[in-house]
Each structure stands twice: as C-alpha cells, then as structure tokens.
C-alpha cells in the first residue's frame, strides 16, 4: 500500500518534470510580462518539488509512530523543523484544520495497520474495466452507429454484466435509455444526438 502511494507521488513528480520540459519550448517572458511558458513552468516546478517532498516523506520510515512514544521528541522536532509541510498535529489544535493541514497520519496509520489491500481483486478490477470500456465503446461508435444503437448495446452489456439484471428488465431499460432518450433530446429539446446511419432505423426517426 505504501508502495502505491510512493508510485503515485512519483508519477506526480514526473508530471511536474514533464511540464517543465514542455514549457521550456514556449516563450517564457515577453515585453508584456509573463509569456505562455511562464505559468506552466512554475506550476511544473512547484508540482515536481512538492511531489518529491511527499515522496521523500513516504520513503523515509514513519516518524509518526515514534512521535507518540515520547512527548519530548515531539517538542524537539517542532523546534527543529518549522516546515509547514510537516504534518505535526497538536492535540486539539483547531487552527491546523484551518490551513487544511489536518494531519493525514491518523487515517493513514489506521489503514497501514490493516492488512487488507488498497486494491480490489481481479473480479473487481474487471468490473471497473467494463465501465471504462463501455465509455470508450460509446466514444468510438456514437457517431458511426448513431446514438440509439450505440447506447442500446452499451446499456445491454453493462446491465447484464455489472447490473446482473434479468433479460426483460435489461431490454426495457436499454430501450427506454436509447430510443426514448433520443426522441426526447432531438424532438423536445432540439439537441442533436447522432442519428443512425442505418436506413430503416433512420426512417423511423432514430
């Protein structure tokens, strides 16, 4: 789980670096102040730096555990390390919350303590993948198949696989979701959804 968090922080750091590299190709400063490259560059630098700090925090073994053991250690570190990114929480300190600086330690530690994985099993991953693929399927077919057909097939598949609905329920929901929705949008609201290219379907007004 810590590994996933480290990877995420690393990815964000790389994203920052990528932004830095890309924005170097844009004019940085013009006679009228900051150019197109100014903001992306500094946002990229900030992202890279902050993500790296977070990554280091995650890589260095948890200080939090030791924090509770000795009160003295807490006070000493505070004196030595005024860094605002340091997640020190003084008990009952309302103002820490004001800065959004509520320590993430309690929740994180709780989760770290649990052996259960952050990531679901293969079946769950497949369910998530089906939803994403359904969207991609519609993206690819919407304009060539037309709204009704594309949406109907998508609904049938997700209702049967993920919803585990009975075939007749599936058929009704998918029909309403494709045909009725299409008619409402195009007839009443005058919003153009792609019509079907199939002659007998488009002849029906779909």
């Amino acid at each position: 789980m810590t590994r996933s968090r480290q990877v995420a922080a690393g990815v964000f750091a790389l994203l920052g670096v990528f932004a830095i590299v890309e924005s170097r190709q844009l004019p940085y400063y013009t006679s009228n102040g900051p150019g197109p490259g100014f903001f992306p560059l500094w946002i990229g630098i900030a992202l890279a730096v902050v993500s790296t700090i977070h990554l280091v925090q995650l890589l260095v073994p948890h200080r939090a555990a030791s924090r509770r053991t000795a009160h003295s250690a807490l006070t000493r570190r505070e004196a030595a390390n005024p860094d605002p990114s340091d997640q020190v929480q003084v008990p009952g300190d309302v103002d820490a919350a004001m800065t959004g600086d509520r320590a993430d330690d309690p929740s994180e530690e709780l989760m770290e303590a649990q052996p259960t994985s952050l990531w679901p099993g293969r079946a769950s991953a497949a369910r998530v993948a089906i939803v994403l693929c359904a969207i991609l399927y519609v993206a690819l077919t919407l304009e060539s198949f037309g709204f009704t057909l594309s949406m109907f097939t998508m609904l049938v598949v997700v209702l049967l696989t993920l919803g585990r609905q009975k075939p007749w329920v599936t058929a009704v929901v998918a029909a309403v979701g494709s045909v009725a929705v299409y008619l409402v949008f195009t007839r009443w609201l005058q919003v153009q959804l792609p019509p079907s290219p199939i002659p007998w379907l488009s002849a029906l007004g779909l």
């Binding site: 996933s4 995420a8 922080a9 964000f12 994203l15 932004a19 890309e22 004019p27 013009t30 006679s31 009228n32 102040g33 900051p34 150019g35 197109p36 903001f39 992306p40 946002i43 990229g44 902050v50 993500s51 003295s72 505070e78 990114s85 997640q87 003084v90 300190d93 309302v94 103002d95 919350a97 004001m98 800065t99 959004g100 600086d101 509520r102 993430d104 929740s107 994180e108 952050l118 679901p120 369910r127 998530v128 939803v131 994403l132 969207i135 991609l136 519609v138 690819l140 919407l142 949406m151 209702l159 993920l162 919803g163 585990r164 609905q165 329920v169 929901v173 949008f185 609201l189 919003v191």
Partner: protein, 510 residues
Amino acid sequence: MDTFNLFWDGLLTALHPENLLFALIGCAIGQAIGVLPGIGSAAAIALLIPVTFTLSPISAIIMLAGIFYGTNYGGTITSVLMNTPGESASVVTVIDGYQMARRGRAGAALGIAAIGSFIGGIAGTVGLIVAAKPLTDVAIRIGPPEYFALMVLGLSLLTGLASSSAIKSIMMALVGLLIGTVGIDPALGIPRFTFGNPELLDGISFIAVVIGLFGIGEILQNIEHRDQEVYTTGFGSVLPNREDMRRSAGPIGRGTLIGFVLGIIPGATSVIASYLSYGVEVKRAKDKSRFGRGAIEGVAGPETANNSFVNANFIPLLALGIPGTASMAMMMGGMMANGLVPGPRLFADHPNFVWTLIASMIIGNALLLIMNLPLIRFWVLLLKVPYGILFAIILEFTIIGAYSESFSTFNLLVMAIAGLASYLLKKLDYPLAPLVLTLILGPLMEENLRRSLQMSSGNFSILVDRPVALSGLCLAAVVFVWPLIRRALTHLWKVRQRPTVSQLDARGNH
C-alpha cells in the same frame, strides 16, 4: 412611488394567464435542461429562440428568462442524486450534496437548495428593482486587474478546504492548475500541451473532467463490489428540518450577497459565485471536517449564490445593455429577435416590458419553489431504484452530458480518463476538490493577469495602483496568512502551557 406603480402594472401583466403559462413552461424547460448534464441554459435559449417567434414578445422573453433561472433549480438534482453536476453552476454542490444523499438526506439537500435558490432569486430581483443603474455603473469598472485579485482571493480560500492532507491538497491544486493551462494561451494565442491535436486547442473540457472525476469516479467505486449498498434510504424527514434551517440561514444570507455582487459584474460566472460561497462557508465553519461529508452549509450557500447570481445577471443587461454571461448574450439575442433592443433606454422606452419581466421573475421563482418542494419526494424515490439499474442510468447521463457539451466524442475519452484517475486518487486518499477549484480559477487568473499587463505594457504596478485590485490582493493575503499566524500564536501559547522537556525530565528524575 413611480417605481411601485410600474412594478404593480408589470405584475398584473405578468399574471395574465398567457404570460403565467409561458413562465411556467420556461421554468419547466429550464428545470429539465438543468437536470440534464452538458446542455447549459445558453444553448437551451439559443435552440428555442426560433420557437419564440410565434409568441408575443413579452411571453417569449418571460419564457426564455424562465429557462435561464430555472436551470439552476434543476442543476442541483443530478449533483445531489448522481454526483454528476447537471449544470456547471452546481459543480460545488456535488461535494457535500451527494454525501448528504448517501446518508439518506437527499431530500434535505434538495429542499435547502430549492429554498436557498428561491431566496437568492428573489433577492437578486429585488436588487434589480431597487438599484439597477447605480450598481451597474460601479460594476462595469471591474477590469482585468480586479478580476485577477478576485481569483487570487478565490485561491486563498482554498487553504480552508478540509482535506486529509495538506501536501496532497497542494499537489492536486497544482495538477488542476496544470490541466488549466492546456490549450491556446490567453495572451498570444500559442498552443500549449496540445501535441498537434486540434481537440486540445480549446483546452480540456472542464465539464468532461468534472463529470469524470465525480460521476464516473463514483460509479467505479460503487460498482467495484457486487451489491454494494450505496444510498441510505427510508428514514428521516424528506424535507429540511429545523436544525438544517438554522445551519443554513447564514450560508443562504452570505450566498445571496456573493451571488448578487458577482452577478452584477459583467464577465463573472455563476461557478465562481458558488465556489466563493463554498470557500467562505468552509472558512467560517468551526468544524471543517464536516465539509465533504455532507454538510448542509456546503449545499445551501453555493446553491443560493448561483441563483442570486443568475437573477442579478439581468441587471447589467437591462440597465446598460451589457450581457454579463454567454446565457445573457442569448437572452439579449432573444430580446432583439423579438424587437426589444437592450440598452440604457430600455427602461424608459419599454417600461411595461421591463417591469413585466421583473415581475415574472418573482413569480417564476415562486413557481419553481412550489414545483420543486413536492417533486423532491419523487426525486428521492429515484434512489430506491436498485443500484444495478441506477448505475447504468447515471452512466448514460454522464455520457450524454460530456458529449453534448461540445458534441465531441473526445470529451468522452477525457471523461473516462478523469473517471479512472478519480478512482485511483480516491484509493490513495487524494482530495479531488482542490483540483476542480484550481481548474476553474487558474485559467481566469492567468488570463486576467496577462490582460492587466497588456493594459499597462508589462508594468506590474497596475495591480497595486488600482484601489479595488489592491484591497482584493491584501484581503487574499490576510485570508492566506492569518490561519498560519493564528496557528503559530496558539502553538506558542500551548507550548508555554505545556511542561517543557527539561521539566519533564526533571520530574522523571524525581
């Protein structure tokens, strides 16, 4: 007295059965448009302008106006029930509104939104009656430097957003800013991060990202396990209770004010109004951890602000002939197509029209409140649909929403990627709100900074020479730094109160 007589005449005309009917039709259409994600009120008005030619001009404009303010009542519904904003103005409502729905409080969320919208709407209209012209004369002086200050103030409120980790919030805020830079740069027209793809020239669609982050992200989380219980239903009162009303009174009042002020300023948008209202509520709250977990203040404030905004938005149009937003530009188009040219002389030349329109806005807001409160029971029933079916309906809604925003399937890809990102980020405890908020504010901040500098040929002094901009920036600085100072002070206090290390050690030695 004169104003009152004119208003009274207008009210009588507005109450004419035909006008009443078209107000009702307009509100109903607006409500429907609001519920459907993607299509906004500007598009809806544009699509219906040709229809209005068959009506009398006054009925036509009453109907179009109804669509305009009706959308805000509808936009809340999908935000609360489906975690998918039906309207960009309701983006912020998603954060707490949906959490309320999951806790069985969908009715309260929708109820308070309707009540807040009503109050905000009426207040906006009253402001229009009382002080249209003088207010507008001040509002139009707001230029790029003031806008820049406003955006900085908005960003400073970010620090108040409750989240589990400060560093992760900062990271997400930066990612939002970065995404906001994609597209043609606002000052020189040079493409950034577009990689030769014309779909990216306009930037990454805010609506598609938000629908993906919230709508799709939520579906993915819920669908992960079979037969997951998503909504708590079946207990508690449907409408807001006394405690809710008590908590919401302040947010509604402040939301009204924020929405009204921004509504008069041409160029501001209702998203900014609702976001600022949310930011202020979080800042003011004693227990910030409630936000993001179904705090009713997080629904009441923004929903009031966006409706107050929309009604106040008529002020610059009617007083000066300046449409403040794209939707208002469409209203203007509709008025012109019906032979009423908005301009400073509109009040004088067509007093009956103007006052009838204003009266119809009060009636329309009342109609919407009457329509909405009973409908809440019906909407909440939607949550009783088994999730195995409901998720598919939500999925279809999100797809239509992201697609119809610009009729591009590219938006669907953006939405899918945002959905996946949201799923992963939630697992890793990254907060999404900062990303969405910087995505709203970042591009506006850059654009207005660079416009300011174009005005001054690159001289930064323009930001401090103008009193309004300067006070905005100072306020932002205070908002940003004050919690840190207070924290430091409290901290020092606590350290002094606490036994020191040496005392502890000394005691241990005893």
